[in-house]
């Protein structure tokens, strides 16, 4: 009973409840859409769950899909903590992925314990520096970071596309780089799936981020800058420095996410491999309420949705696009906590009224 109460308290406090209600609401609303379209929601969701969890293979795929999503979610989360809306994660992932691929391919003769970490590090630094450009411009010229990061996405995409199309293109029809050396590859945990050892890195990153934000002076000052820059300044915190640092970390996390896909799954950089992971990161961090562990859970959910869609296409006549509707609704509800608060309130009021009647 006590444990239940504690869980309840934790749910209310951590705002995770809001995210859960958002999920429930979106499931409900998309059922309506599915029914209107002439399908059975039970069949649809059943296929979705089967596609995501139906076998070890599917489960591994689901968790594997979550790896880059965890990184992009964490990248968004820390940027949000310092008060920057980083829409450039997609670009930062791409910018991190290519150098990791090149280093993995063209540097030979290194032992694996050095080669792989080096590739990851280079991916992190590339993504971090790329993101830091935004913070520099924002600090110096007060350019709006939203516009800037959107534009930087295009710049990143086209620069990398050029490099992959011309100087570094591997032979063959597919636009991609050469295969990386085995010494640079991450271990695949379940054969023929996306699940590679990067998952441990992702979980570690979440843990470290949580610790740093919660327990260290660095995190304390960073959060202060994000929630009240004036008060932080008054307290002697250099807010511009924190914008730079947080953006570097954000970009570095994104870069690792991109590099991981190269080193752990594809084995080369292939055009369009970061298909929307960066943008999903925004929704994931919002759903996770900026909490690193919440972000991991939200990333897993998005992994379920992505693979569920594939499952629906595979085993039913219901178009997998319904999952996109569901995903869009999740984002909609999560980003408008107002709607959910209203729902919550009416529940509370009902309960309050009931209790009153019971007393009377």
């Amino acid at each position: 009973m006590k444990a239940l109460k504690k869980t309840k308290e934790w749910l209310g406090k951590s705002e995770i409840l809001l995210s859960l209600i958002a999920l429930l609401l979106s499931l409900l609303v998309s059922s309506v859409v599915i029914i209107i379209s002439g399908y059975s929601p039970f069949e649809a969701y059943g296929a979705m769950l089967k596609g995501a969890f139906g076998s070890n293979y599917y489960l591994a795929q689901t968790i594997g899909t979550a790896i880059p999503l965890i990184f992009s979610g964490l990248a968004m989360a820390i940027a949000m903590k310092v008060g920057i809306f980083n829409i450039g994660i997609e670009g930062q992932m791409i910018i991190g992925a290519l150098p990791a691929a090149l280093l993995g391919t063209y540097v030979t003769g290194l032992p694996a314990w050095l080669h792989l970490p080096l590739c990851i590090l280079v991916g992190a630094i590339a993504g971090g520096l790329w993101a830091m450009i935004v913070a520099v411009l924002k600090n110096r010229l007060r350019i709006n970071e939203v516009i800037l990061t959107i534009m930087m996405n295009y710049v990143a995409t086209y620069i990398v596309d050029y490099l992959v199309n011309y100087p570094f293109r591997a032979e063959g029809k597919i636009i991609r780089t050469e295969e990386i050396q085995p010494t640079a590859a991450m271990t695949t945990l379940v054969p023929h799936t996306r699940l590679y050892s990067g998952i441990f890195l992702a979980l570690a990153a979440a843990g470290i981020l949580w610790y740093v934000l919660k327990k260290t002076c660095f995190g304390y000052e960073l959060r202060a800058v994000g929630s009240n820059p004036d008060a932080a300044e008054t307290a002697g915190v250099n807010r511009k420095k924190y914008m730079l640092r947080a953006m570097f970390i954000s970009g570095a996390l994104a870069g690792i996410g991109g590099a991981g896909e190269v080193l752990g799954f594809y084995g080369y950089y292939i055009s369009n491999m970061i298909s929307g992971y960066g943008f999903d990161g925004i929704a994931i961090a919002t759903m996770g309420r900026g909490n690193p562990f919440g972000t991991v859970l939200a990333a897993l959910l998005f992994g379920v949705l992505r693979n569920g869609a594939t499952g629906m296409n595979r085993s039913t006549s219901i178009p997998g696009e319904f999952i996109q509707v569901l995903q869009a609704l999740v984002i909609l509800f999560v980003s408008t906590p107002g709607i959910i608060r209203v729902v919550q309130k009416s529940w509370k009021r009902k309960r309050f009224a009931q209790r009153k009647e019971e007393v009377a």
């Binding site: 327990k215 002076c217 929630s227 004036d230 008060a231 300044e233 307290a235 002697g236 915190v237 309050f352």
Partner: protein, 507 residues
């Protein structure tokens, strides 16, 4: 006959009542002061009357007729107008345009600007308002802007005028002007409701008072039956001490800090001009002045928030000119003028806010940069106790405390960590009487212990009551600095308005 009768008004926010069976009756043609501390429910009640909120229960009668007021439009139609604390004016429009906004005189489908000017000039003359209807509102002083708001009410031919804390932003002279206007309006048969927590002003202008406390009506009395002490007691619910026990000045008061020839330029304008100040331990130096005359810039220099200035700042024997905010915190404790903006982080817990600015001291972090959570929490628990912060505990977010308790937390933080100099900017703004009393006593204790206190305040009572010496800022310059006894409230007000020659001050 009652102009306004509000009976049994109850209004809840999130289950907690802001007004609980409140009765509020105003006779036609009187000036009625609605008194209460912050959070007593005054503004809620008036917002219900003006149609901004809907009461959960209760009845409203206007001029003996029961009515429903569900929007400000409806209120205006019933002849009720409200002058808000924060003016609702468009700076780029003229006085007349602002006043007619939403009810413009028209010629066909076009706005008849000339007619608007005529009409407003006519009303202004009728009530002896010295105001140019064609002036752009952005160029007006605060006092005149307020007059524009009142004109707006008169344009709507309102018979009941609600003023929310009308004197908060005015100098003593402007307050006198306002009160003259209000008396004129009363003579003309208007009914006036003033929301306030200033007792002196209430005593001088009101015919009747109603006191609210914690959302309930305490009493309604004619002004003849009360005095300031009695009002304070009614508002707070206990005896309040008005006098401050200050030890006599010590003979030895070492210089703690010295500003020499400080000049600050902002956007081509000099907002501080050649300011020199000597600050001594064991005394409170009050800086008086109408807001916007360089106080903010002075604060920024003293705290290192602005490092672009000419001149020197010396603490003890050390030249600390142009040090950054972090370094200045080692010398000057800072109670910010706007606590919500600079004082604390809303979603931080009390213990997180308790060390804000002092969080890099070795008491609070390890060498590796990890917060010593337990030590901080212990300190916070002690501070909450010592500085009487009413809270559910150290884990409560500071944003959810009342204004007075937020301020006590900030004062406690500064007093716990200070190193001999404390800058208190508007330390009691938006704080209830009980907390004011407490914060004042703490500042005086600090002085008695030998610390230097710089008190910057727009509240003249506060300056006069606490300061040993007073310097007046006007347009970025210190126009006078004397012992506090050498000023009267009048002469202080005159200096604040820039009358620097003595005969003007006496006039």
């Amino acid at each position: 006959m009652y102009a306004v009768e509000m009976r049994n008004i109850t209004k809840r926010f999130h289950g907690t009542p802001a007004n609980h069976h409140v009765n509020f009756c105003v006779k036609a043609g009187e000036i009625h002061s609605l008194l209460g501390e912050n959070g007593a429910g005054k503004t809620t009640l008036m917002n219900i009357l003006f149609g901004l909120y809907k009461a959960d229960s209760g009845t409203i009668r206007i001029h003996e007729k029961e009515t429903k007021i569900d929007s400000p439009m409806a209120a205006i139609q019933q002849g009720i107008s409200m002058v808000h604390q924060h003016f609702m004016l468009v700076d780029s429009l003229t006085v007349a345009e602002n006043i007619v906004l939403g009810h413009e005189p028209k010629k066909g489908i076009f706005f008849d600007r000339e007619k608007a000017f005529e009409k407003i000039t006519e009303i202004a003359e009728k009530y002896h308002f010295q105001i140019d209807a064609r002036e752009q509102v952005g160029n007006l002083s605060v006092g005149v802007k307020q007059r524009v708001e009142i004109l707006k009410a008169l344009y709507h031919e309102s018979s009941v005028l609600i003023l929310d804390e009308p004197t908060a932003v005015l100098t003593p002279q402007e307050v006198d002007d306002l009160f003259r206007v209000l008396r004129d309006l009363k003579k003309d048969g208007k009914t006036i409701i003033i929301i306030t927590h200033k007792l002196k002003e209430t005593m001088s202008i009101a015919d009747t008072i109603t006191v609210l406390r914690k959302g309930e009506t305490i009493t309604t009395l004619p002004i003849g039956e009360v005095n300031e002490e009695k009002l304070a007691e009614l508002m707070v619910g206990r005896l309040v001490s008005f006098t401050i026990d200050k030890k006599p000045l010590q003979s030895e008061r070492p210089v703690k800090m010295k500003l020499s020839h400080i000049t600050v330029s902002k956007g081509g304008k000099k907002s501080l001009k050649d300011v020199s100040l000597t600050i001594r331990g064991g005394e409170i130096l009050g800086i008086a002045g109408v807001e916007g005359n360089g106080q903010t810039e002075l604060i920024e220099v003293l705290t290192g928030l602005c490092a672009r200035y000419e001149g020197t700042v010396i603490v003890g024997k050390e030249d600390v000119s142009r040090s950054n905010a972090k370094k200045m915190l080692d010398y000057v404790g800072h109670i910010p003028e706007d606590r919500g903006k600079r004082g604390f982080v809303k979603n931080y817990t009390n213990w997180e806010n308790m060390i804000l600015g002092y969080h890099t001291r070795p008491d609070y972090i390890t060498k590796a940069g990890i917060l010593k959570r337990k030590a901080i929490q212990d300190v916070t628990r002690k501070a909450i106790e010592e500085y009487d912060v009413r809270t559910d505990g150290i884990e409560q977010t500071t944003g959810s405390l009342s204004g007075g308790n937020q301020q006590k937390l900030i004062v406690g933080r500064v007093l716990m960590h200070h190193t001999g100099i404390v800058l208190a900017a508007q330390p009691t703004r938006g704080v209830d009487i009980g907390a004011i009393e407490y914060i004042h006593s703490q500042l005086v204790r600090l002085r008695d212990e030998g610390a230097a206190v710089i008190l910057i305040s727009a509240d003249l009572d506060e300056i006069v009551k606490l300061s040993d010496e007073i310097a007046v800022l006007y347009e970025g310059s210190i126009v006078t600095r004397k012992s506090a006894d050498a000023f009267t409230e009048r002469s202080l007000g005159a200096y604040m308005l820039g009358h620097t020659r003595d005969e003007e001050v006496q006039a």
